[in-house]
Amino acid sequence: MLEENIYSALTAIVGAQNISRDPGILETYAYQWCNEVDNTLKGREPSRFGQRPEAVVLPGSTEEVQAIVRLCNEHDIKFKALSTGQGAWAGVTVPRAIQIDLRRMNRILEINARNMYAVIEPYVTNAELQAELVKYGLIHNAQGGGPQTSPLASHTSFVGPSFTSAHTGFSGRNLLGAEWVLPTGDIVRVGSYDYTGEWFSGDGPWFSLRGVFRGGYGAYGGLGVFTKCAIRLFSLPIPKDWKWEIKGAVPNYDWSLPPYWKMYVLNFADWDTFEKAFYEVNDQDMSMMAMASSAEGLATMFTNTKEAALENIFAGLLVRAQRYFVVMIAAHTQREFDYRAKVIQAILKKYGGQDLVEEGVVTPMPMHYAEGLRNSMGNHAFRFTSCFQSTHGGMDTISMSIKIGKVNQPIKQKYIEKHVIGDDRGEGIWITGYEGGHMAHLEVPTVYDPSSPESCRGYAYYQAECNQADITNALGIPFFIVGDAFHDSYGPSVMNYPRWLRKIKASFDPKGVSDAGHYVSSRPGESST
């Protein structure tokens, strides 16, 4: 328990309304999705309750965050910040740690339409930002976590693929600047802001700290607190007088689909033709969406209930959909639309594919276009058992993504046969291209039952085996390389990078107060993971 004088000092910073040390209140921060996986892999019961913080504080400004962090340094207390906070990595991992809940910092500070960037605070959500950006004909990369999650968290500290990645890239590449409260309490503004007052560039002057604090996958909140960031925006092809309108009732809504938008599901007989077609579609750089999944994924993608998804499966979707990817084109004019549609048809013809929409196998409704934009679509996978998580996660090439899918299939099948994870025949994947096909992200969504300890354990062991397969087969970065043990297992395959990571951690966090449980500690074995 925190000493009274420390609790009083924290209260003085944020006010009595914005702090608690009540065990019941703190349990809502100890509980996190995927703690059951972490707990299993640490030899504990597969519970979603993890480490309970000593207190939770809700700062309202950067200055308050700074004061909290300085107090933590003074009294050797660890801290972890979260925004909407979904996932084990959002919680604290060690005793004598406090949770910094950034919910009160929720302003959109600037939308600079001309230079195409927005400056946001941590608790602005994807849906909120997009709702405002649409009024300017703009869009940002709203990561797959969903419309209720924080784009700041994704851009500064996490991975960040999305359903619109073919158009909007991934979050790490779109970060244009950040206000960063270092683990010491010093404030650094990264990128162009500090010398121009605008946030148009993530680099400069001269050098960039983006690679230091986030690199490919981010520090998962283990290297200070980000209190503002600027992110890159992209054009959204909608008419000037168009408005985001939704009609209907839950769960079947109708969206005001803009003109010149169309969704395709391009299906191919095998991986080889799929790969070639997927490269070409990405290379054309004309899609709002270009992503692949399994037939089971397709069943839930364009339906609105679990029952409807299952009906799709039982109606023969598994036979009709082989290797497919979904493409959404969105154009400003009829001519642009016609050109894009023509290119899609040409690629389809070249590789002998079929459009499953054209053939009536699946029917994307207007609301599914909206869900694609807002990144609600990934959440559909929760419908089967109220739970899924992804393994692998290599950010590499399209061909590497396909290779991972192939390597994964027999591993996954083994756990399906144990009846601990959902049965997608081992085919469950999700691939999206970035940056004209130069890069791609694959993850393997896997359904399990959160109310069954056997299923939680089974999923955890499956995830561990996937991580090992990534290392053994050089498949790229595993999805959950978090904490010392994982970094140390992966490091020898990749130039022993953890020793450099630890130098960064030691330099920026000399007292080790920024909870390293899902990042890396300055010395091996220091963190709890």
Binding site: Q17, N18, S20, D22, G24, I25, E27, T28, Y29, Y31, W33, R48, F49, V56, L58, G85, Q86, D101, R104, I108, T125, A127, E128, L129, Q130, A131, E132, G146, P147, Q148, W244, I246, A249, V250, P251, Y253, E307, L310, I313, M367, A370, E371, R374, N375, S376, N379, F382, R383, F384, S386, C387, I416, H419, I421, D423, V447, Y448, P450, S451, S455
Partner: protein, 415 residues
């Protein structure tokens, strides 16, 4: 079920595709006011889970988070879009457990429950004054099998609604009885704060009274009473009465030509969906069957189980009636129908936490003002009270009307 919560925070917001602006993206008044995760639907599910697992006991702060909730059901609508969880149901059970454990309800709740016990209304008013609202020129038919169940708030605090309702029924030549001083609280304020045993006793007493009176159909002008009688009573007691909200009845009377809206009411209005008439009003349909594993770990109900999603609440009848009043222009707010933002008064909040109730009303009033409407209209005396308080506190230019008041004006006799 509680282990299925993934702490995703969807329970705090409108479903992603329904968000049209940052300003009106939130759907839970409690988390919007108090910020700590415990004050969200998901937070309460986690606390209930921790209590159930024996990790924690009740504490004052926990009870504060549990009771600073209007039980409006918005979290349940947004959660069920993706998950098989019922946060609002869990909150109700959590409160019942708190009461059974002797740590709840809150002191203000205990006070009004004592009044309900003693004088059959939470305001402490005398039973004899219950029909003081009744004008001499309104016809009541004591022999009618249709009961106008006035409810405590319309009887004692929002008498204009009771009067307007009675005049509408008279104008349509729909005979109705009232229970007068024998009418008792429907039990809603008792039930919503978790005193389930006492609430069931009230339900039984009321049902007995309805039977003695030979009632077949019950008309309410209060969404809270409607919800209790339509949705909650059948869960706990034998209940064989038709329950109709006045907005539904007016819609039917208009369709049959039994009611004519002749007088213009020149007003630009926006409509607030009461939680208890809207998303919370879907009945619990009895289901007997089994769960069948149709794919590994994926279960379906056999036969299909009716799910309360909020889609089948009563949203259209009030709007259809409003649109038929000459001179009325209806404009909509951003958060409507199953995603309507609560008025802030329900589930014991108005009594125990008046500041919270008022703050929530002001949030909703700001949204109503943004439509350019001159008046906010709703269908619930309890919403009416809280909005009128909010308008006064805020100095809002909005007027507030219950739907019945506008209908009464249009058929004549309202002013």
């Amino acid at each position: 079920m509680m282990d299925r919560c993934v702490r995703c925070s969807k329970c705090k917001f409108l479903d992603g595709i329904l968000v049209k602006s940052k300003k009106y993206s939130q759907v839970c008044p409690s988390i919007q006011m108090y910020n700590l995760h415990a004050y969200s639907g998901g937070g309460r599910v986690i606390m209930a889970n921790a209590l159930y697992k024996g990790r924690i006991g009740f504490s004052d702060e926990m009870l504060d988070a549990l009771y600073k909730c209007t039980n409006c059901g918005a979290c349940e609508v947004t959660c069920k879009m993706y998950y098989d969880i019922e946060p609002n149901e869990i909150i109700s059970e959590f409160r019942a457990t708190a009461v059974e454990s002797g740590v709840a309800p809150m002191p203000k709740h205990k006070k009004y429950i004592e009044l309900v016990d003693r004088v059959h209304n939470p305001y402490g008013e005398e039973a004899e004054k219950r029909q003081a609202w009744l004008p001499k020129d309104v016809d009541v038919d004591e022999a009618s099998q249709t009961l106008y169940f006035v409810g405590c708030t319309a009887a004692y605090r929002r008498q204009e609604i009771a009067e307007a309702t009675a005049r509408i029924l008279n104008a349509a030549h729909e005979p109705f009885a009232i229970l007068g001083s024998d009418e008792s609280c429907c039990g809603s304020p008792v039930y919503r704060v978790g005193d389930r045993k006492r609430a069931i006793d009230i339900m039984k007493q009321n049902v007995e009274r309805f039977k003695q009176q030979g009632i077949k159909r019950i008309v309410t002008s209060c969404s809270g009473c409607y919800n209790m009688l339509k949705v909650e009573y059948p869960r706990f007691v034998d209940f064989d009465f038709e329950v109709v909200h006045i907005s539904q009845l007016i819609e039917k009377l208009l369709a049959k030509g039994k009611l004519k809206l002749a007088n213009p009411v020149p007003l630009k209005v926006t409509y607030h969906d009461p939680c208890h008439l809207g998303r919370m009003s879907e009945p619990y349909e009895k289901w007997e069957g089994k769960l069948v594993e149709v794919l590994a770990l994926v279960y379906m109900h056999d036969p299909p189980k009716p799910i309360r999603t909020g889609a089948r609440g009563e949203y259209d009848a009030p709007r259809n009636v409003l649109r038929q009043i000459p001179g009325i222009e209806l404009v909509e707010m951003e958060r409507i129908r199953e995603y309507a933002y609560c008025c802030g008064a329900g589930a014991g909040v108005k009594a125990a936490y008046p500041d919270f109730a008022l703050s929530t009303a002001q949030n909703r009033l700001e949204e109503a003002e943004s439509t350019g409407a001159q008046a906010l209209v709703s269908c619930c005396p309890f919403c009416s009270t809280n909005f009128r308080d909010g308008i006064r506190e805020r100095g809002s230019p909005l007027e507030f009307y219950d739907l019945t008041e506008l209908v009464a004006r249009s058929i004549g006799g309202g002013e």
